[in-house]
Amino acid sequence: MYTLASFLAGLIFGIGLIVSGMANPAKVQAFLDLAGAWDPSLALVMAGAIAVGAGAFALMRGRMHSLLGAPMKLPTARDIDRRLVMGSLVFGVGWGLAGICPGPGLVLVGSGSLQGMVFLLAMLAGSAAFEWLEARRARTAQ
């Protein structure tokens, strides 16, 4: 049941990315190009998503279990630190360079794009390298 719900959420998410234009890297870069011919569309993608999402998160606030009975696993970290800011800045540079973030990367791969595959493989390599360094640092710190 959870697996099916997960699949449907991923499917609807991906269709939303395609409909909204987020899965088109040129459109994403046109949104990020404030000094050029600016396409404000993607601000409305965010607005539409938050307008729908906020209600659901408010409804689930304080609950111990989901409607299917799964334990709620929402992030508990609250600290605004160097890692959060530096990491997000690095992500933003990568996002700007190609106009692709992780969700649209997967959608591009699913549509058979070779460029999407190259991006996604590099992204997974980056994540794996980071996790490996973190694990090594945790070991040496012990």
């Binding site: 050029g36 933003g92 540079v93 692709i100 973030c101 549509s111």
Partner: protein, 144 residues
């Protein structure tokens, strides 16, 4: 700043955004989790028993989305300006940055802002600012 009105697609943007919000809403209401794509993917790199199926299913849904959409409507044309070296650099930075900062456009941008997380607001402002700055340098400094 000049607004490219001919490229502006407010209805599609709002409708697609609402679908993204619906997916995030379903996921938190049914599975009790954040639809944070970078985190869901990263969890598959070091699989933990019992924690794989829902991640793989979510990723599978995203991969199949263009196939399903294409069956009914035909896929819209996309354009990728970045060449292969730039795509590799971009992928590496996105892969490292989203782990270091614990989230991307979906986890921090959509879910985090929807649940009014100050942490996600800071993250979103940071990656948006970096994205704006990067495209400025790319298009008007190097490319200009």
């Amino acid at each position: 700043m000049t607004i490219a009105w001919e490229a502006f697609t407010p209805v599609a943007a709002l409708a697609g955004g609402a679908l993204i919000g619906l997916a995030a809403a379903l996921f938190v209401m049914l599975n009790g989790r954040i639809a944070g794509i970078s985190g869901i993917l990263a969890g598959l790199l070091r699989p933990v028993a019992g924690d794989v199926a829902w991640r793989a299913a979510f990723v599978g849904g995203l991969l199949l989305a263009p196939v399903v959409y294409g069956l009914f409507f035909g896929l819209p044309l996309v354009r990728i300006d970045a060449g292969f070296p730039l795509l590799v650099a971009a992928g590496l930075l996105v892969g490292i940055g989203t782990r270091y900062g614990a989230g991307c456009t979906s986890g921090h941008g959509v879910c985090g802002l929807s649940r009014l997380s100050p942490r996600s607001l800071v993250a979103t402002l940071a990656f948006m600012a970096a994205g704006f700055a990067t495209v400025f340098v790319l298009r008007h400094f190097i490319g200009g």
